[in-house]
Amino acid sequence: MSKVLNGLHYTKSHEWVKIEGNEAVIGISDYAQHSLGNIVYLETKEVGEDLTQFDELGTIESVKAASDILSPLSGSIIALNDEVIDRPELINDDPYGCWLVKMIIKDSNEINNLLTAEQYQLESK
């Protein structure tokens, strides 16, 4: 069964988000990496871009398939994980250790639209 970390929030589209003050750290879940298979390509929006909750944040591709990454929250991108962009296969080994982007949260009320670890556990069974 796929691993779900406590303390993170999740989307139904299998992104995870860690809230650190007014910043959000975003990645994809163990379920997502497992469904995709061997990840070979990652493309994200640039630093400085503003996103709306559940808008497209980027694209992640395995050998077989391409999948959109959705932004769990509204906000402005402040950092990209260049190491993971260069070596996206790292996500398969450690999906929760590989953050993809960091953003400044625009509206923390939107966190209520996300799933808790418990809810996501049921969702991703």
């Binding site: 298979g37 061997n38 070979v40 390509y41 493309e43 694209t59 591709e61 395995s62 050998v63 077989k64 391409a66 296969e89 398969n92």
Partner: protein, 361 residues
């Protein structure tokens, strides 16, 4: 959904199963990338029992087959020939392997997705002719596995006294493996040396497990596609279909224009004299991104074709693609743009040798 005889074995090996052509098949076991490299470096083992087998028997089996398929089937016993079933207009109904046993017995091995269509077509051709043949779809009785890679012959030799060295590429033979009867051919769909092994479903299950115990790595359909693409081999529904003729698909080696007559020959002669208007070429992406099947290809605002297969193949730095492009865009070095979702990505026409083949001839 249909299941092959190896279904339970796949589950026990931890396979991720997917629907393919109405069958529940393993897409990968440990991981597509690992399996791709295992086949290139040692030996991969594939369940391809979903493929269709059609037996043509009777006095006219050879002449009927030569009328039916584009490839030149020579009366050399126990040799295989690649060919296609063509419409009268030259479009490809399916591509297939022809196994010539003797002039009264020929086996056609076809794509799973096309089996019913092929059988209906072959019967309709026979009905409107005077050929004396019996057409039997024996697919459900036949299991098929492929053992592919540098170590394939070493591993298989453990199970038979038959000298496998004497079996050259596209030869086949009826022989015993682990004391069970099989038909094996030196052939495959990966660009590696290897064997395709046909047998009764129960025997195939035993043999598959035996080969795994001897070190063959179970491989899913996922890497089967990256391997055949890396070897620049065509896949029906991608590089060819009913609206594409064999020359456009780059498959002239599967057509024998010297044969007296075969279905589609007239249309192909016409197509040849008129000159090709589009053709499959290889592309390498200059920019980042992965081009995938059906993505449109442009020259500026001008739509010039589409991608038929594309991957970032394990072990490659650049994403590669096969694409069918209009005339004028076939020269090596030609720059084109591929529409990858919202972006236009630059690509360059290159040669099709993605892989340096090391067949044992």
């Amino acid at each position: 959904m249909k299941k092959t005889a190896l279904y339970d074995v796949h589950l026990a090996l931890g396979a991720k199963m997917v629907e393919f052509a109405g069958w529940e098949m393993p897409i990968e076991y440990q991981g597509l990338t690992q399996e791709h490299f295992a086949t290139r470096q040692t030996c991969g083992l594939f369940d391809v029992s979903h493929m269709g087998e059609i037996m043509i028997t009777g006095d006219d089996a050879l002449s009927f087959t030569n009328y039916l398929v584009s490839g030149g089937v020579k009366p050399v016993p126990m040799r295989m020939t690649y060919g296609m079933l063509l419409h009268h207009d030259g479009g490809v109904i399916d591509d297939l392997m022809v196994y010539f046993y003797n002039p009264q017995k020929i086996l056609l091995v076809v794509n799973a997705s096309n089996l019913e269509k092929d059988v209906a077509w072959i019967i309709s051709i026979q009905k409107n002719s005077s050929y004396q043949v019996i057409i039997s779809d024996i697919s459900s009785e036949v299991g098929l596995i492929a053992l592919q890679g540098k170590q394939a012959s070493t591993i298989l030799q453990y199970l038979t006294t038959y000298p496998l060295d004497t079996l050259k590429m596209f030869d086949f033979e009826d022989l015993a493996l682990h004391t069970m009867p099989f038909m094996i051919s030196r052939s495959g769909y990966t660009g590696e040396d290897g064997f395709e092994i046909y047998g009764k479903n129960d025997d195939i299950v035993i043999l598959f497990q035996k080969l795994v115990n001897l070190g063959a790595i179970p491989c899913g359909l996922g890497c089967r596609d990256t391997l055949r693409f890396e070897a620049s081999m065509p896949l029906y529904g991608h590089e060819m279909n009913e609206t594409v003729n064999p020359f456009e698909a780059g498959l002239s080696f599967g057509v024998d224009m010297n044969k007296d007559d075969f279905i589609g020959k007239e249309a192909l002669l016409r197509a040849k004299s008129q000159g090709l208007k589009r053709k499959i070429v290889a592309l390498e992406l200059v920019d980042r991104g992965i081009a995938r099947a059906d993505y449109p290809v442009y020259d500026g605002d001008h739509l010039i074709g589409h991608v038929t297969t594309g991957y970032l193949i394990p072990g490659h730095d650049k994403a590669l693609a096969l694409a069918i492009l209009d005339v004028g865009y076939w020269d090596l070095g030609t720059l084109v743009q591929i529409q990858i979702r919202k972006n236009r990505v630059e690509a360059v026409v290159r040669n099709k040798k993605f892989l340096h083949k090391q067949y044992v001839k």
